[in-house]
């Protein structure tokens, strides 16, 4: 969804630093939902490694195609299918080595090919993380089917977990769907009650003598000779709103409404 936002970097205009407004694409996945995933992953990985895990979360984003290419560069990709959306777990080579070697009590972070044993360990960790995606993907079972993917295609939203201890590694999670924003009333009817509305009044059935019209000039006063009260109709933006009798009340012109005009769309319910 496009959202109005301020630029990250300000430009200096005279003695002021100005951050310009612009529209940017923003994920509609709530941070709270991503936090659920992160907390579940923390528990699952903590149980797997046998040590409490401390991790942080990078907010959901909608990467550009170039950013997806950078995310997937040389990374190990594991795809998992869910009811609501598919997920893809992204592990970069150095992070894969760090996670796999930590399970063996080693600390190594230089990127290298994993051994068969290390690959199995990594897959168990990824499987644990995939199970944590249930809140956003609808993955129901505890041991989801993992499929190794060659490339990232068709994914929209990206969140990333940064494990800070006992091992430093980053794990990315891509989602195939971004939640659709729900339309809701941004302005309540109650917020509009103090507005001053410009109404027009049109009166009908006025009579005057032809002589008065023939001698009409500025500052002339034209008497209205109706025997009945003058009816008028209130208009709002060119549409009739109500009609009634025009007159004077407590020294002010007024209209006593006796008929409300029906809207062509019918009555609207207050939202």
């Amino acid at each position: 969804m496009m959202c109005l936002s301020f630029s990250r970097e300000g430009s200096r205009v005279g003695r002021k630093c100005v951050r310009e407004v612009h529209f940017e694409k923003r994920s509609m996945l709530p941070v709270s939902a991503a936090c659920l995933v992160a907390n579940a992953a923390r528990e699952a990985l903590g149980a797997l490694f046998g040590a409490p895990l401390h991790l942080r979360l990078f907010e959901p984003v909608l990467p550009s195609p170039q950013a997806w290419a950078e995310i997937a560069r040389d990374a190990m990709l594991y795809r998992v299918r869910g009811v609501r959306a598919d997920a893809i777990i992204v592990v970069r080579p150095s992070d894969a080595v760090a996670l796999a070697t930590h399970a063996f009590g080693e600390s190594e972070c230089a990127a290298r090919p994993l051994s068969q044993m290390e690959r199995m360990v990594l897959e168990r960790a990824v499987r644990a993380i995939a199970g944590s995606c249930a809140p956003v993907c609808g993955i129901s079972n505890d041991a989801p089917d993992l499929a190794i993917a060659e490339q990232i295609a068709g994914f929209v939203t990206y969140i990333e977990l940064q494990i800070e201890s006992p091992v430093r590694a980053r794990i990315g999670i891509g989602l195939s769907k971004d939640p659709r924003p729900e339309a809701c009333a941004g302005v309540r009817v109650e917020d509009l009650l103090d507005l001053q509305i410009d109404l027009a009044l049109r009166t009908e059935g006025r009579f005057c003598e032809a002589m008065a019209l023939a001698t009409l000039e500025p500052e002339a006063i034209v008497p209205i000779t109706n025997e009945r009260a003058i009816r008028g109709t209130l208009y709002l933006a060119g549409r009739p709103l109500a009609s009634g009798e025009c007159g004077v009340r407590e020294g002010r012109y007024a209209i006593a409404v006796d008929l409300l005009e029906r809207s062509e769309r019918g009555p609207r319910s207050a939202t």
């Binding site: 709270s32 936090c35 979360l57 990078f58 550009s64 950013a67 990206y158 990333e160 940064q162």
Partner: protein, 240 residues
């Protein structure tokens, strides 16, 4: 056209003097002639977190247009596609890991692609870092963290080493001279000055005065040559 050695030397001398005058405002520029050097003036404060002044006897390591390893005291650094570069757009070398080799300093490519890296700056110990925002999933609190991408490397040459110029801002290591390389504030090198820019070591007034002297000397040489050739012609005429 034949140019005798004395004239060629005089022209070369003018060129070198003019080069000194041209570099009078280049940060950290060293004069080719000691007689136009000024006292070591303090670095100037600038509102640029990527500007940094090295210690007076130290250089940043970069490369020149021909790809040769070059050394500069111009700490007007910048980011180009996530890489720390010098004023000529060439990467500045540093240490990406505490025990790692000299390398280019780059922002994490994923952070760069996702626009997470903001507020890049250089600290007094030469660390180049940026701000990255993250969320604590247990509390939902957002927090900014400084991510260090590496430390700038500094090079120092033995005292009184004559450093050949690579271009206006950079010098080369003389053949057979290996500079001592380290990190700012590591005990061997002093700390760098963030948000400062080194001043030029060239006195503009003196360098212009010496350039004028060089032109006068050249004119005198030309006049002497003219007088000599005139005397020779007169002698030849007399002999005829």
């Amino acid at each position: 056209m034949l140019v005798n050695t004395a004239t060629a030397n005089a022209l070369e001398y003018i060129t070198e003097r003019a080069a000194d005058a041209n570099r009078a405002f280049v940060p950290g520029a060293q004069p080719a002639f000691a007689d136009v050097a000024n006292d070591v003036s303090p670095a100037r404060f600038v509102l640029d977190p990527m500007s940094v002044a090295p210690p007076s006897d130290s250089y940043f390591i970069t490369s020149d247009e021909r790809g040769r390893t070059a050394y500069t005291q111009n700490g007007a650094l910048a980011m180009s596609n996530g890489t720390v570069v010098a004023s000529n757009g060439r990467p500045v070398l540093g240490f990406g890991a505490p025990d790692g080799p000299l390398t280019e300093l780059r922002i994490d490519p994923v952070d760069l692609a996702l626009g997470r890296a903001t507020g890049v700056r250089v600290d007094a110990d030469g660390s180049v870092d940026y701000t990255r925002s993250s969320v604590d999933p247990r509390t939902g609190a957002r927090e900014n963290e400084r991510v260090v991408i590496g430390r700038l490397a500094l090079a120092r040459f033995p005292a009184a080493t004559k450093l050949p110029q690579a271009d206006a801002e950079r010098v080369l290591a003389p053949a057979g001279v290996i500079p001592h390389i380290g990190r700012p504030d590591d005990g061997n090198f002093k700390a760098v000055a963030p948000m400062h820019r080194a001043s030029s070591r060239i006195d503009l007034d003196l360098s212009l005065s010496r350039l004028n002297d060089a032109y006068i000397a050249f004119d005198a040489l030309q006049a002497a040559h003219k007088a000599q050739s005139s005397t020779g012609k007169t002698a030849m005429d007399l002999l005829k």
